[in-house]
């Protein structure tokens, strides 16, 4: 954005006051998460009015548990989108991670080591994504689309299509245990979302991600190591997908190679609802998380309200377009 040319004329007090108010208002309306929180509150109120079964602790808890792996993946997806990239391989990496963890544990590998190895494998997958995109200059959509099929394929090969069961009992703690009232998985999700959001908002270290996504050429010319930043975002996205896969495997006590087909589209939708731009340079982790919450509510609502399964796709698609359009309208007003 071009800066307005400086005019050396001192503003009067009244003018200064008006500028300050306009600035404040701008900043509040600029908190786009507010819009999403508003939409979620409205959706929640609507659902509560329509049915007594929505606002029950059982339903809320099952919604949050169900969305935890997705929310974790959305954190990584948001960061990749902000950098101007796209990662379609997240669902497959999640499935691969769960099955790999299961197989390692079945072989007798200690649980903690299995988890570490799977996270490392996730990092390798992310690095491959990043290198294919930066060094080989393959379009991110194509590169991660390829990884989507490859990772899923690897999961199928190592399991021969079987679900991996018979995991050691202690592993269930993450997804099924109780820590301060809820499964540890939820605390892990909260920690990842909080850490991700704080990092993107305040760490100077993460600023380059926005610059790379906003204007790659300018970022490159200003000395930012664009390729390194990009590879880092893909590594992060894949590692978070691995975390999601491990937690899911713990909840199901099974490594399922068919898990999460299409999850990447849900994650992208959630991130975009939360404010991320597919062109890069914009988006917050908190927004992505709220987007995931919103989509989870919609999915939950359709089942509780008994909407026909044949109509559910239409309904969720229309709502998705409406919410993003609303956001687009508000954006143009702000400009």
């Amino acid at each position: 954005m071009l800066e307005r040319p400086h005019v050396t004329v001192k503003p009067s007090d009244a003018e200064a006051g008006r500028k300050a108010t306009a600035g404040l208002a701008r900043r509040i309306l600029g908190v786009r998460e507010l819009l999403l929180v508003g939409v979620i509150v409205v959706a929640g109120l609507l659902m509560t009015a329509l049915t007594p079964y929505f606002l029950t602790w059982g339903n809320i808890e099952s919604m949050i548990i169900g969305m935890a792996p997705t929310a974790i993946i959305v954190v990584g997806m948001t960061i990749v989108l902000v950098s101007g990239g796209l990662d379609l391989s997240v669902g497959s990496v999640m499935a691969l991670s769960g099955t790999l963890a299961g197989l390692l544990m079945l072989r007798g590998t200690p649980i903690w080591l299995s988890i570490l190895l799977v996270l490392a494998a996730g990092a390798v997958v992310g690095a491959i994504n990043g290198l294919v995109i930066t060094a080989l200059r393959v379009n991110p959509l194509i590169a991660t689309l390829g990884m989507l099929t490859i990772a899923r394929g690897i999961a199928m090969v190592i399991t021969q299509g079987f679900t991996v069961t018979g995991l050691p009992e202690p592993f269930a703690y993450l997804g099924q245990g109780v820590l301060a009232g809820v499964p540890p998985m939820l605390w892990i999700m909260a920690a990842i979302v909080a850490a991700g959001d704080l990092a993107m908002r305040s760490m100077r270290y993460m600023r380059p991600v926005y610059y790379v996504g906003g204007n790659e050429r300018a970022a490159l010319l200003s000395g930012i190591k664009v390729d390194q930043v990009k590879v880092a975002t893909y590594v992060l996205s894949a590692v978070l997908s691995a975390v999601a896969g491990i937690l899911l495997a713990s909840r199901l006590m099974a490594g399922t190679p068919t898990a999460g087909v299409g999850l990447e589209l849900t994650a992208i939708a959630a991130a975009v609802i939360g404010g991320a731009s597919l062109l890069g340079g914009e988006g917050t982790v908190l927004g992505g998380f709220l987007g995931a919450v919103f989509m989870s509510i919609i999915g939950n609502a359709m089942i509780i309200l008994g909407i026909s399964i044949y109509w559910q796709g239409i309904v969720s698609g229309v709502i998705l377009i409406l919410v993003v359009s609303l956001d687009m309208l508000l954006r143009t007003r702000r400009l």
Binding site: Y53, F54, T56, G58, N59, S62, M63, I65, G66, P69, M94, A95, L100, L103, L104, L106, R107, V124, I128, L131, V132, A135, L136, R152, I154, M156, V157, I158, T159, Q160, G161, F162, T163, T165, G166, L220, L248, R251, L252, M253, A254, T256, P257, T258, A259, G260, V261, G262, L263, S296, G299, N300, I303, I304, L305, G306, S308, I309, Y310, Q312
Partner: protein, 342 residues
């Protein structure tokens, strides 16, 4: 300009490193992987192909095992193939490609009763016998159909679920949107409507055949119906999904589950009683039978000897339809259903 030159020159070592990394990863994964079926090192070039759709789900494990075993037994090559989605057009295209390879016989799990009519007829006219599996294309020139009608499988499930919940109460039916599975769902609903007026189907849940999504779908249905008595599943992922949801809602025992197919992850739930029973097809037998029937036709033995020349007589020597029935998995026999993994 300079940076681009530098980047281009950097490509080769990066490419080499990436290639090595992939090789290393492949080796490591090979070491960690389950022993797969040996590639069909067949003495003969004879090939029998099983074409299906949604091919990545565990439902096909028994078909693949039977194909392999029949191949070894008869000394022929077998193959299992098809699109990973419920895509009728993709399956029709795959069928054409298979015909071009001139196999000795084709088994096909059709996406519906119409799309593959031209393809099947082309195959038969060119001398390749075709058997339809677990779903028929009656208006085609297929030689026989082997399997259970999906609608009837749904009826069986409904029968067992009704017995399990004592003939009355509210139930939810779980499914996903593939033609055969929807047939099972319809069989479920129709059977209950016809025979059990005291049972109310209060909802149909689409679990997307995704083990990651299924639990929250069933959990939502449980939230919406606090007095739910039972959940009937019509696809392989409904069992474990419903079981997970019932356990997390702390309603194990209060909500009875009757599942379908024999996915590995649901067997533990049958063992511990969360799932009362599962309805499974005799997939192994269906496939074994199909390969052998095709083999007999190709080698002119068995039923093919019914007439001196069945082709000239324009007679189909095979049965019109083979109804393979279902088997019920319960706590008593669940051990037998565990596939040996690794």
């Amino acid at each position: 300009m300079h940076s681009r030159l530098v980047r281009d020159r950097a490509r080769t070592p990066v490419l080499a490193a990436a290639g090595l990394a992939l090789l290393a990863a492949g080796y490591l994964l090979g070491a960690a992987s389950a022993p797969g079926p040996a590639v069909q090192a067949a003495p003969s070039g004879e090939l029998y192909v099983y074409l299906a759709n949604v091919t990545q789900v565990p439902f096909w494990i028994d078909q693949k095992r039977a194909l392999e075993a029949a191949g070894k037994y008869l000394g022929v090559r077998t193959e299992f193939t098809g699109p990973t989605t419920a895509d009728a057009q993709a399956e029709a295209a795959a069928l054409d490609q298979i015909i071009a390879r001139r196999p000795a016989g084709i088994m096909v799990f059709p996406p519906d009763s119409k799309t593959l009519i031209p393809g099947i007829n082309r195959a038969v006219d060119s001398g390749i016998p075709v058997i339809t599996m677990i779903g028929d294309v009656p208006d085609s020139k297929r030689f026989t159909h082997i399997g259970i009608d999906n609608y009837k499988a749904g009826e069986e499930g409904a029968r067992v679920l009704a017995a399990t919940i004592g003939g009355r109460g509210k139930v939810v039916v779980g499914t996903f949107q593939a033609a055969g599975v929807l047939d099972r769902m319809r069989g479920y609903k129709d059977y209950l409507a016809k025979h059990y007026p005291g049972i109310q189907v209060v909802g149909v849940v689409d679990d997307h055949a995704d083990p990651a999504y299924a639990p929250q779908a069933y959990a939502a249905a449980i939230s919406a119906h606090p007095d739910l008595a039972g959940i009937g599943g019509t696809d392989g992922d409904s069992g474990a999904g419903a079981a997970r949801a019932v356990i997390e809602a702390k309603k194990k025992g209060a909500i009875k589950i009757v599942a379908m197919d024999r996915n590995e992850d649901m067997l533990n739930y049958i063992q511990d009683g969360t799932i009362t029973a599962a309805i499974a097809q005799k997939s192994y037998m269906e496939t074994w039978l199909a390969v052998n029937l095709l083999y007999w036709l190709h080698h002119n033995i068995g039923p093919a000897q019914m007439l001196p020349d069945w082709k000239a007589a324009k007679i189909d020597p095979l049965p019109l339809d083979v109804d393979t029935g279902i088997m019920v998995i319960t706590r008593d026999n669940v051990r037998q259903f565990r596939h040996a993994t690794k």
